[in-house]
């Protein structure tokens, strides 16, 4: 789990981003155990308190849950995962839209380009 951290953004947010991505992509399945805080800190070479902060935040957002004396697990609530995916796409689209804003392009042309990109991505996989 070699994550390259950006030095100016809070590390805990970067850790949360990393896990959101894993959940959205399905690499982390509902109910799957999260690594322990210490383990994660050691793997990512970051401060354990920072990991703790990321986990607390994720618990608050109900992305993960912790029962007494067991490791934290990924949420099993399909609504939350669905919501997460929606937010993820929403954020990506907002970025996308603002990024292409300077270019004058019709929706049809844009759709063709997007389809092409998606097809390439699938081939790449």
């Amino acid at each position: 789990m070699a994550l390259i951290f950006n030095k100016r953004d809070p590390i805990y947010m970067q850790v949360m981003h990393h896990f959101r991505r894993l959940i959205v992509s399905g690499e982390l399945k509902p109910g799957e155990e999260m690594p322990s805080r210490r383990q994660l800190a050691n793997q990512m070479k970051i401060n354990p308190n920072t990991v703790q902060r990321a986990y607390s935040e994720m618990e608050e957002q109900r992305l993960i849950y912790t029962e007494a004396n067991t490791p934290s697990k990924v949420t099993e609530d399909p609504d939350i995962v669905k919501q997460l995916k929606k937010e993820w796409l929403d954020q990506a689209l907002t970025h996308f839209v603002s990024a292409i804003d300077p270019v004058d392009i019709s929706l049809d042309e844009l759709m063709t380009m997007i389809e092409e990109k998606l097809a390439n991505r699938k081939k790449g996989n």
């Binding site: 100016r8 050691n42 401060n47």
Partner: protein
């Protein structure tokens, strides 16, 4: 908690510490940062009663340092401090003889982690391995606080990586760690608190993560502002 209250120290006419105050708490890694000669080492020495102060006080969990404090606080200086003709094993035996807080199992774990050979004589070790022996002597004590002076100075990059790993490991879990360094970039992600020293005073005292969150600045950014501006 280690409380440093308004301490003053001069060497001859040179005022090194001019009213320094800060705290370091359990479960956090606090980093004393500043250019060379700013008095970082002097502060650690003063906490361990290895140099007298002109003024001010230092409390550990509310009490001034006493003989018993050495069972609660360990210092890893930036110099080899066991006898050169000792083997690593003899150095460990020496520690075990005097410290009731010596944890033999943890010592074994650290020896393995650092890939040290207990039968090696300290004088025959590389500088990096001598630094590891120093760390071993401090980390294997079951103490609440660990002070480290320039743990990364003058060692090769691989040793540096190994030592960096210590900070996010179980070895310092739940302890209060106070380290000094003048090269922070390698451990920016590992520390909780930064205390910037300049001209004998604490110039800035902040939580690294809060700094990133509220001002979008890295620790190095803040240092740059202080030392270049």
């Amino acid at each position: 908690m280690i409380e440093v209250n308004n301490i003053y120290k001069s060497f001859g006419k040179k005022k090194v510490l001019n009213g320094v105050s800060f705290t370091a708490v359990k479960g956090e890694i606090t980093c004393l940062v500043g250019v060379n000669g700013v008095g970082k080492t002097t502060i650690l020495n003063a906490i361990m009663n290895l140099t007298p102060l002109k003024k001010g006080s230092i409390l550990i969990d509310g009490k001034p340092l006493s003989v018993d404090s050495y069972n609660h606080i360990a210092f890893i200086p930036d110099a080899a401090i066991m006898l050169p003709n000792m083997t690593v094993q003899e150095a460990m035996d020496f520690m075990k003889d005097y410290y009731k807080t010596w944890n033999g199992n943890r010592a074994k774990e650290i020896v393995k982690f650092f890939r040290l050979n207990p039968s090696d004589r300290i004088s025959n070790l590389s500088k990096g391995n001598q630094a590891k022996v120093n760390l071993l002597m401090g980390l294997a004590l079951d103490v609440e606080y660990i002070l480290m002076d320039e743990p990364f100075s003058g060692i090769d990059i691989f040793t540096r990586e190994q030592i960096t790993e210590v900070f996010s490991s179980r070895l310092v879990e739940d302890r209060g760690v106070l380290i000094t360094t003048h090269e922070i970039q390698d451990i920016e992600h590992l520390i909780d608190r930064v205390i910037l020293l300049d001209n004998g005073v604490v110039y800035k005292d902040f939580n690294a993560e809060d700094m990133r969150e509220t001002e979008g600045k890295s620790v190095v950014d803040v240092m740059r502002e202080v030392y270049n501006g």
